[in-house]
């Protein structure tokens, strides 16, 4: 069951990520990214992170990506023009990319023993209760600092969005 779930959503994630990189129209890329986010949320559930999966959907898919789609719709610039890159670049970069992925996969497979497996329900510490407890005790200072960060971000966005600039 876990194998089927993982393979399904991992495939969706990789295909959507590929689509993100290959599509020329930004809105297609944005929708593919939403697909990646959704399938990663399912994988979080598989890993026992129910709170983080919900937050992934609410914050990432429901807020950040809506902003992206909103901006794309607002500017409505259409598809990217055909890149003027030389064909050599593509021919060098693609094999390099595959080599990099293969190397990373090999390294990971070597370092992580095969006996380490993920079973659904193997970790139950990702509930809202435990995340909240840890966030408001051990990580209270970083939490407060992020609120200041967000305040600064809001101010920055407001300043940038003014008409005079």
């Amino acid at each position: 069951m876990e194998g089927l779930l993982f393979l399904t959503f991992a495939t969706i994630a990789v295909l959507c990520a590929l689509n993100l990189v290959l599509q020329t129209h930004p809105i297609s890329s944005a929708l593919s990214l939403i697909g990646v986010l959704g399938s990663i949320a399912v994988l979080y559930l598989l890993l026992g992170g129910e709170f983080i999966a919900a937050v992934q959907l609410i914050v990432y898919a429901g807020a950040i990506m809506v902003l992206f789609v909103f901006v794309i719709m607002l500017l409505n610039t259409g598809a990217e023009k055909q890149p003027t890159r030389k064909i050599v670049v593509t021919w060098i970069s693609l094999p390099l990319l595959f080599t990099f992925i293969a190397l990373a996969a090999m390294l990971i497979a070597q370092q992580v023993p095969k006996t380490e497996v993920v079973t659904f329900g193997g970790f139950s510490g990702g509930t809202t209760l435990s995340v909240g407890r840890s966030l408001f005790t051990q990580y209270l200072l970083p939490f407060e600092v992020t609120s200041i960060l967000i305040l600064i971000a809001i101010l920055g966005a407001v300043v940038l969005a003014r008409k005079e600039i």
Partner: protein, 106 residues
């Protein structure tokens, strides 16, 4: 269904995360639209988040979830400011091609 393993090796999650991260890097380098470049960054952040949560499972501690939570908060702040910058750039230069926005001053 015999070819499907009953359990998933931990390394698969990490490999998936590596693949997504690499694709994010590729998108960041290859794409020419600022918004798509920005989305590639988000993809990389997500790949990192997946690694955090996977290690959280391995160590049976909640800290990985907290880290990815903070990454999401930072991504939200980044999206707000970044998109505001993109809007301003578009207002001033009427283009989103990243090669045309190479100089700091008009």
């Amino acid at each position: 269904m015999d070819f499907l393993p009953a359990t998933v090796p931990l390394s698969w999650f990490l490999i998936l995360s590596a693949i997504l991260f690499t694709l994010g890097v590729a998108g960041f380098l290859l794409r020419r639209n600022i918004i798509t470049v920005f989305m590639s960054i988000e993809l990389m952040l997500n790949a990192v988040n997946l690694t955090f949560v996977t290690f959280s499972y391995r160590l049976k501690q909640v800290d990985g979830h907290i880290f990815s939570f903070f990454v999401m908060v930072v991504a939200a702040a980044e999206a707000a400011v970044g998109l505001a910058i993109i809007l301003t750039v578009y207002k001033n230069r009427s283009t989103l091609e990243i090669d045309d926005v190479s100089s700091m001053k008009l």
